[in-house]
């Protein structure tokens, strides 16, 4: 009875791990930008691996294995978001702009014929556009 319950909990946790892991890997290969890939990969790296830990905790045979698994879960819960933050800060400090769709194509599709083909593909200093060229120098000096 107890073994059947443990198997059921482990099966549910592993199914969740497979779903989130496949989603994270697909996002890691489909997205266009390191920031978006980081979002997908932190989904994979945290939720999928955490579900695997819960399934392994349900299948653990002795108390010492369960205790070590709890310690590993606690450390992973701290280290994984911190690692993601370090990678994001490195990408932002190295001068990498976030991806955005080309404004010319978007305006042409929305029905503004006058703005089609107006210079480069990204208006670097357009006011009020929220372009990343405006907010970069203030945000990248801090450590």
């Amino acid at each position: 009875m107890l073994d059947a319950a443990r198997d059921f909990v482990a099966l549910a946790a592993f199914a969740s791990a497979v779903v989130f892991g496949v989603g994270g890997i697909v996002g890691l290969h489909r997205y266009a930008d390191p920031y978006a890939r980081m979002q997908a990969s932190s989904l994979c790296g945290t939720t999928s691996v955490f579900s695997m830990f819960i399934g392994a905790l349900a299948l653990a045979e002795s108390v010492e294995m369960a205790a070590r698994l709890v310690v590993i879960i606690a450390f992973f819960l701290v280290s994984s978001p911190t690692g993601g933050h370090i990678v994001a800060r490195f990408a932002w400090n190295s001068g990498l702009d976030p991806w955005r769709p080309e404004p010319n194509r978007r305006r042409r599709r929305a029905g503004f014929p006058g703005s089609a083909g107006s210079g480069p593909s990204r208006p670097a200093g357009a006011p009020g556009d929220g372009a990343p060229g405006e907010v970069e120098p203030a945000g990248r000096d801090g450590e």
Binding site: G45, M52, A56, R89
Partner: protein
Amino acid sequence: MLDGMLWFTLACSAATMVRMIIGPRAADRLVALNVLAALALAFLVLRGVREGRALYLDVALVYDIFGFLGLLAVARFLKDKAMGADERADGRADGGGDA
């Protein structure tokens, strides 16, 4: 069930290694390295539970700590390298001959 999850972890690691090889920028490779460390940790934990030996879980915990420190070291190294290149480029633009 544990064998299936071990193979799933290996498949995810292979797909992540593809991204780490073809990643066009250093940030892509660091993202893939972060995922790869987590997947290796999950592989070690699942293998330790399958074999029934608590020693593998100790190895997994130490690997997690050192993987985190390695990621921190690689990020700091790449940042220092990029900043050093910027300073050298600035010095060359100013006419300094220290490069």
